[in-house]
């Protein structure tokens, strides 16, 4: 199995501060940070009417498909994707080739402002994730003790049944 992607308090706080600032400064509606395998890392903004788990999975799928298109064209990847809707638009960009930053915005702001603020946030996030990825493999899974899998097994038996 691949080494688990581990996030600790300190890094997570920096990520959340950066995302919160991006949300305010860009005047966007929602900001999400998603692992390229489709798992949501963090979200900011009003997600009460948004299925953020599904949104994260589809964003990652979308980004993966577009990256594959770029490779067919002989490019490394498209670093930015933009989907324009009548009311809502989506801006997607990549951080350290491993994580994607998704900004959902409406006509209260502009693509130019979103792009400008995203660029600044990408630099900050890039530093955090460089640090996180450099620690992968060096840090043990603290907190998961030996009884974890036995407790998990009984929970699995309890929930996953007809």
């Amino acid at each position: 199995m691949a080494q688990a992607f581990q996030l600790f308090e300190e890094d997570y706080q920096i990520i959340n501060t950066t995302l919160a600032r991006l949300l305010t400064e860009s005047n966007a509606r929602i900001v999400l940070l998603v692992d390229r395998s489709g798992q949501l890392i963090s979200s900011h903004g009003d997600t009460s009417n948004l299925d953020s788990t599904a949104f994260a999975s589809l964003s990652a799928g979308n980004f993966a498909a577009t990256s594959a298109l770029a490779k067919i064209l002989g490019q490394d990847e498209f670093s930015v994707l933009f989907h324009q809707g009548e009311k809502e638009s989506i801006h997607i960009s990549v951080v350290q080739s491993r994580v994607i930053l998704v900004v959902v915005f409406d006509n209260r702001t502009s693509l130019g402002l979103v792009r400008l603020r995203v660029k600044k946030s990408l630099e900050e996030l890039s530093n955090v994730f460089e640090n996180i990825f450099s620690k992968l493999g060096a840090v043990q899974n603290v907190g998961l003790d030996e009884s974890f899998s036995s407790v998990a097994e009984s929970e699995i038996d309890n929930l996953f049944r007809d």
């Binding site: 390229r36 998990a152 929970e155």
Partner: protein
């Protein structure tokens, strides 16, 4: 690659259902979605063609609840089985923690199953994984059909690693949860082994 967030105490794992076209991968997810209680499951997303063939993937998030303080979630994905969707299939394997290989047990599909298993190994390698290192469960599906290959023969042809295997009739739900329980346990056992 599972995501462990120590700050907000979350563990997310990705399980991918793989196998040849029409072997029953989506049917597995549909049954799980139908039977699991509301609070445990998220919305089932299907990116399918007009004829209900999987075009990109199906996605079903399951919430196991809190285990030792960690909110633990499984994200179930299927790949498109048809041969010509290989480029899409590869992408779904990114970040996979465990595999369910669904086999169409019918005599005439044996070559398709073998080809799909070989294709899985190749595609894992392109995503930087070693096939032998990933937890996997094999599901011999469509056992209710008249022209199926005996299980011991399928084991010889497809289960070279000696992985746990289950007979199933996914349309009726038989074997679906046995398979899901087995792979979920293997994935979490693997995760705690890394500590």
């Amino acid at each position: 690659m599972s995501l462990i967030n120590y700050a907000n105490k979350e563990i997310n794992c990705k399980i991918v259902y793989y196998g040849c076209g029409l072997c029953g991968k989506t049917t597995n997810l549909l049954y799980v979605h139908k039977k699991i209680e509301g609070g445990t499951k998220g919305k089932l997303i299907s990116l399918a063609t007009e004829t209900d063939r999987t075009l990109f993937f199906d996605f079903l998030p399951l919430d196991l609840g809190t285990i030792q303080g960690f909110t633990t979630r499984f994200h179930l994905y299927t790949v498109p089985g048809q041969v010509h969707y290989d480029a899409s299939r590869k992408l779904i394997l990114k970040g996979v923690d465990g595999l369910v290989f669904v086999v169409d047990s019918q005599v005439e599909r044996i070559d398709d199953n073998i080809e799909s298993l070989e294709n899985l190994k190749v595609n894992l390698r392109t995503q930087g994984y070693e096939f032998d290192e990933l937890p996997m469960v094999i599901q011999y599906n469509k056992r209710d059909l008249p022209n199926v290959i005996p299980v011991d023969e399928l084991e010889k042809k497809l289960n070279h690693r000696g992985d746990p295997s289950f007979e199933s009739i996914a349309t009726d739900g038989i074997g679906v949860f046995d398979t899901l329980r087995a792979i979920s346990k293997l994935v979490l056992a693997d995760l705690s082994k890394q500590r």
